[in-house]
């Protein structure tokens, strides 16, 4: 048997989760103490275990929200549907939110999808490209009459996401519960029951969420220094930041904000946003637009 044929057979057995695949067992040499299926099982089991670990690491809050059983069912379904085609395992879990959106089982669970999108954004921010942030003093290099033509460049980690209303609360609750579980080892029965009760509460919240999620929340996710950061945005800041990311000038964005918000003078409102963006390390470039 040619090497390419052997590798195709071997891979097929692993992807199918079939350690008893007759074709591969036929070419495995007899072992002194373990049967071929047991030894082939080492590879079959390691494959699913390893991919599960990648998903576990990237979606800890989603696991808490769904509960262990449902999360593991999601992971199994994702692994079955998504053999890794990536050289670097770091990005294996990237498409989980899209998988959930298209899935019959999870597609209507807006809160779970929102949480998956949010945790994905946090992971992406963690190791996004580096870029030194500018301080607000950078603006002093430009005369006030040039400000309307100024455009801004933002940190490569910055993402604006729209998720189901309640996603950030769900994340905070799940993170707190996860931390509590870490601090309280589950050896004692009492603690175990408490966790199961909490899981039940989360599942109820999860199941009722879609009908409550009539609205969305908009979240900016980025990396501040070396750690992911996030903040919910008001609609007018979302609009302004979106436009600024797209390369529109300060003057153009002022006009849009004025259209959206008839209260505070738009230039003043936008100046407040700018101060915040600079202080949060979001701005990495300022230049006059043509």
């Amino acid at each position: 048997m040619k090497l390419s044929e052997l590798q195709a057979l071997f891979q097929s057995a692993v992807l199918n989760g079939d350690a008893e695949d007759a074709a591969i067992l036929d070419v495995i040499a007899p072992s002194h103490s373990a049967d071929g299926a047991t030894l082939m099982g080492v590879y079959v089991n390691a494959y699913r275990l390893r991919l599960s670990e990648f998903l576990d690491e990237d979606y800890p809050a989603l696991r808490v929200l769904l509960g262990d059983d449902d999360f593991e069912a999601l992971v199994e379904a994702y692994i079955d549907a998504s053999p890794s085609r990536l050289r670097n395992a770091r990005w294996y879990s990237t498409r989980l939110p899209e998988f959930m959106q298209k899935s019959e089982s999870w597609g209507d669970n807006a809160l779970a999808i929102g949480l998956a999108v949010f945790e994905r954004a946090l992971t992406d921010a963690y190791d996004a490209a580096d870029a030194p942030a500018l301080s607000i003093e950078t603006l002093a290099e430009f005369s006030p009459q040039d400000w309307p033509r100024l455009g801004f460049t933002f940190h490569p980690s910055l993402r604006l996401i729209e998720v189901a209303a309640g996603t950030l609360d769900a994340y905070a609750a799940a993170s707190a519960e996860e931390e509590e579980e870490t601090l309280s080892p589950p050896e004692e029965d009492e603690n175990t029951y408490e966790q199961q009760g909490s899981d039940e509460t989360n599942r109820e919240a999860c199941e009722t969420a879609p009908s409550q999620a009539t609205d969305i929340e908009i979240v900016a996710v980025w990396r501040s220094e070396l750690d992911p950061a996030y903040r919910e945005l008001d609609p007018d800041e979302y609009l302004a930041l979106n436009e600024a990311i797209a390369g529109h000038s300060f003057g153009d964005i002022c006009q849009l904000v004025a259209f959206q918000n008839e209260g505070q003078p738009p230039a003043e409102r936008l100046a407040q946003f700018l101060v915040t963006w600079f202080s949060e390390g979001l701005v990495i470039g300022v230049a006059e637009t043509s």
């Binding site: 090497l3 072992s31 047991t38 082939m40 085609r85 050289r87 395992a89």
Partner: protein, 281 residues
């Protein structure tokens, strides 16, 4: 053949130990990284690596080169690996005698090969091309395996020895992997150690594994067992003063336990050196 530097006694650089290493400056001569963990755009992993690189020699150890795969070499991967090597300037770059997938898939595991002349020709050609691309000699590690193939035409050590000579590469002798594969396939681990060309061994790996009674699995989550220490002593006597390190990837113990294992390595080597001096005198 150019010789690689003798780095002494190292450990795998793992995030769980970052703070302790930086605050205590433990007696570790060098660190080995998993290359793929740093083949990312930026952020904390890359920033931390640069901090360690400023103070310690670093070796890049990959798990995704898929040297034995019958898929085409992944040139994008090699380009990214080369870019990281140019940035970090490691003492050397290593990967495994294994494949990780075919038909564009990646099983994220180090998969076994039949030790045939066809596989040998294939691997030799691939290592040669990788060395041309990376512009450096590759260090290739023997992997732990759990199945062997009936069609193999030679023992693993003969395959490894021929591969190294023909591809003109260097070898990373994983002592634990020799033991694990030897147990699983009932071969004489001493024969493996004795057959590997001494001049090509650039590094040792030591690690713990899981004893499943009927077979052993290379889990890197246990202390190094006595049988592997015994085999290490044999390897050290044969290969001399090559750089050695301990891999620990799960069930992480207090850092002091890893330092104690490193010290045991030093003590064994010192005893061997003392015996050699007495014999010479």
């Amino acid at each position: 053949m150019e010789s690689l530097p003798r780095l002494g006694y190292g450990l795998g650089l793992r995030p769980i130990y970052y703070d302790e290493i930086l605050s205590t400056r433990p007696p570790v001569d060098w660190f080995e990284i998993i290359s793929e963990n740093y083949m990312i755009p930026g952020g904390r992993p890359v920033a931390m690596l640069e901090r360690f690189r400023a103070d310690y020699p670093i070796v890049m150890h990959g798990v995704s080169m898929s040297l034995a795969s019958t898929d085409a070499l992944d040139l994008d991967y090699l380009k990214a690996l080369k870019a990281l090597a140019e940035r970090i300037e490691p003492a050397w770059v290593s990967d495994h005698l294994a494949w990780t997938g075919v038909h564009g898939c990646n099983l994220h595991d180090l998969l076994p090969i039949p030790y045939t002349r066809e596989a040998l020709d294939h691997v030799v050609e691939r290592i040669s091309r990788v060395q041309d691309i990376l512009k450096r000699r590759l260090v290739v590690e023997n992997a732990s395996t759990y199945v062997a193939f009936s069609q193999s035409e030679m023992p693993e050590w003969e395959f490894v020895a021929q591969m190294a000579e023909r591809a003109d590469c260097l070898l990373l002798l994983d002592v634990n992997n020799v033991f694990v594969s030897g147990f699983n396939h009932s071969f004489d681990t001493s024969a493996f150690i004795d057959a590997v060309p001494a001049a090509r061994v650039a590094q040792f790996h030591m690690a713990g594994h899981t004893d499943c009674q009927t077979h052993r699995i290379d889990t890197h989550d246990q202390p190094i067992c006595e049988e592997v220490w015994t085999l290490y002593e044999r390897a050290r006597r044969r290969f001399g003063d090559v750089s050695a390190m301990i891999e620990r990837d799960d069930n992480f113990p207090p850092f002091a336990e890893l330092l104690a294992e490193l010290q045991r390595m030093r003590d064994i080597d010192a005893a061997i050196a003392a015996n050699a001096s007495r014999s010479a005198a």
